[in-house]
């Protein structure tokens, strides 16, 4: 089967879905791998690296024309969707819930679509779970970006020219990204606090050296490891508990999300006003509406002396590693879906079931997620 690897078209995204190393592994599995020109350039993978791995370099047109499988990271844009052929298989993060129109187009064109972001959060799917692999990097990069933007340094330093007190970092949401943010900030010497609606994250945050701000959540439980939408009452209690730390923080990183919903609003403008002059907020949930009232996706807003940066761009910016991980996830996924380089179409299997969004032109009604 011919796999076509497309170059990302979304601005600022430097990643590539398949790296030369993985290309080679796919070829060893019997696939014919073709890569769009300069697809890996921004992830420090040159065309020549792909050639060396045994993949051929093609134009976009060529790929759409000849590939059996088309692989990308971000959703296909409209121009791309138009080019799909009947029977072609598309693998990417399609965000089908927020992009129902795209699904319709794919179905109309008679193609098949697998969405990586629909991967169930079960143990055996962990090595195909791009949300985990990318969010992890996001947590790291958010701290680096914060450190870069701040006018203070992280560690405590007692020097001849006086003592620099350690930076205070506050992390909202102790999921994959939040945990890595805690770890990174802690490493750099900051005093780290964290909060989450799921109480089981307390121990996890503490295992990385953060102080956990426990907000009594009155039994609002998590679902399959994910948080549910918080009640208003909870939001109020959360503010009460966290405000003291928020107003002292030098860097705030927000990662709170509820799958398939707008991200919860955790920091209002009123709160921002009371924050320290010079503080920085990195809002990793900006794409889903943001955890901070003032954050704007892909913008740096300075208001009330606070720099608010709305981004998900973090993993994209460490594109080499992000691509490595994404490609490995995709590889594992392909290995799971195929046998002797033919697709198995095992719809009984939970992973296939939940990620197969469009099957030969029909949009599947796929389970669980409400």
């Amino acid at each position: 089967m011919i796999i076509g690897v497309l170059k990302e078209t979304q601005k600022g995204d430097n990643r590539v879905a398949i790296t030369p190393k993985i290309a080679k592994q796919l070829i060893e599995k019997g696939f014919d791998v073709r890569v769009e020109e300069d697809a890996g350039a921004n992830s420090s993978y040159k065309n020549s690296d792909y050639s060396k791995a045994g993949a051929s370099i093609r134009t976009k047109e060529d790929l759409f024309k000849n590939s059996d499988i088309l692989i990308k990271i971000n959703p296909f844009d409209n121009k791309e969707l138009e080019k799909l052929k009947k029977g072609q298989i598309v693998i990417a993060q399609l965000f089908h819930k927020s992009h129902p129109n795209d699904m319709k187009i794919i179905a109309e064109r008679g193609a098949t679509a697998y969405s990586m972001d629909a991967m169930p959060r079960i143990s055996r799917a962990q090595d195909m779970d791009v949300l985990s692999s990318q969010n992890n990097l996001a947590g790291y990069k958010a701290v680096i970006k914060g450190a870069y933007e701040m006018t203070k340094i992280f560690p405590l330093m007692m020097t001849a020219a006086g003592t620099i007190s350690p930076a205070r970092v506050l992390v909202y949401g102790v999921g994959v990204a939040g945990l890595q943010a805690i770890a990174t900030a802690k490493r750099l010497g900051a005093i780290v606090e964290a909060t989450d609606i799921r109480t089981e994250t307390k121990e996890q945050a503490e295992s990385l050296g953060a102080k956990f701000i426990l907000v009594d959540n009155n039994g609002e439980e998590s679902e399959g490891g994910y948080a549910k939408v918080a009640s208003e009452d909870y939001a109020r209690r959360q503010k009460e508990a966290v405000d003291k730390s928020l107003f002292k923080a030098d860097l705030v990183i927000t990662t709170a999300m509820v799958p398939g919903r707008r991200s919860p609003l955790l920091i209002t403008e009123e709160q921002v006003k009371q924050m320290q002059n010079g503080a920085v907020i990195i809002d990793l949930a900006a794409a889903q509406g943001g955890n901070c009232e003032l954050s704007v996706m892909n913008k740096t807003v300075v208001k009330h002396g606070v720099k608010i940066i709305g981004t998900t761009i973090a993993p994209e910016s460490v594109s080499t590693n992000a691509s490595d991980l994404y490609a490995k996830n995709t590889f594992n996924y392909l290995v799971h879906l195929t046998e002797g380089n033919q697709f198995k179409w095992d719809l009984e299997d939970q992973i296939t079931d939940e990620t197969l969004i469009v099957y030969n032109g029909t949009i599947r009604q796929n389970g669980k997620t409400s």
């Binding site: 143990s123 055996r124 985990s132 945990l179 490493r187 996890q204 990385l208 050296g209």
Partner: protein, 450 residues
Amino acid sequence: MTYILGLKMLGKPETARKGNLIAAAGMTMAILGTIFFYQGEVPSFIYILIATAIVIGTILGWMIAKKVAMTKMPELVSLFNGMGGASAALIGLIEFEHYTGKTMSIATIVAGIIIGSISFSGSMIAWAKLNGTLKKPLRLPKYNILNNLIIIVLILFATFIAWSGTDSQLFLYVLFFGALAYGVLFVLPIGGADMPVVISLLNSFTGLAAALGGFLYGNMVMLTGGILVGSAGTILTFAMCDAMNRSLVNVIFGSFGSSGDVSASDGASETMKGSIKKTTVSDAAILMNYSQRIIIVPGYGLAVAQAQHAIHELEQLLASKGIEVKYAIHPVAGRMPGHMNVLLAETNVDYDKLAEMEDVNPEFKNTDVVFVVGANDVVNPAAHTNPSSPIFGMPILEVENAKNIIINKRSMNPGYAGIENELFYNQKTSMLFGDAKSVIQSLISELKGM
């Protein structure tokens, strides 16, 4: 004095073997000395008798000891102990007539008979139990009262014999058999798992019996040897109870212990068959000390306990003893990607010592000890074997291929996936319960002393 030295050296793993030899040599000398320095007329056929007995005894003892399987050792010890007890009792029986009327000497003799025969019959029962000949702990009704009654009667009877100055052999034999019976009753109801404690106790009894003999003859070798064993044995008995977290009284009187498997009842569901084996810090330390390759499997528990510095110190300590140590890092150990890396980097663990799952899995079979610290799901064989488990299909660290597995966690509670782990019930697995940090620190101090 050789015994003292011998026993002392037995107390340390490195010198233990030499200590044993020294003690044996001392014993040989003592025996020869006794024979050659004996002052008095002895018909030569007696010498022949003695020599025959010794030769037969030696050959028999040697053969039995050499032939028997390693796992049957405790039985053997019990058996030999019984021989000693019997010997002591017999001496008493023979010597009785020579001392008629000397109250104290007779007291010594009857005490020797009682203790010796209890030791003998008790040891035999213990042996039979361990051997599997006797399966069920037998328990007469009102057992405790009955038993206590017997021993009281025995003592009264013995006192009477000594005091009255009687020379009735009959009385003596009654006493002898009474004591034998008591020994049987004493050991019969005790569970198999507690046998080692009982044997140790009987061992110190025999020591006492020997010492009494020594007293009688004014023979220093017997006296010191016996007392030494008596006291050391008693302490040892307590130490063993300690190691099992039981009190001696509990072992002897309280235990209805059904054939001795410590069942995994603390908090875990009882679905898993088989029993777990608990181990102690000392045992784990010894095992590690005598290994050549150790792999440490860190998990979320290590992070919770913040035991990263401790494990690093342990690793360095082991390495300094010439043991090859590495860490096997499972990709999803902990609660975030790279959790173990972050943790261990904090302590400056050499990056070369961190092995990835694929690389390390084939190595387990050549590994003497796998030390699993606060990990659970990532070593759960259910991922391979049980299609209905939520982790089925997840690759795991195949620690079950190693020669020994030591698992440290606080309880039998499951990990993230919430499922039982049959690895804990593996024959090769020893559970080392406790908070990772304090357990590792104890391991370190134990290992430093070796």
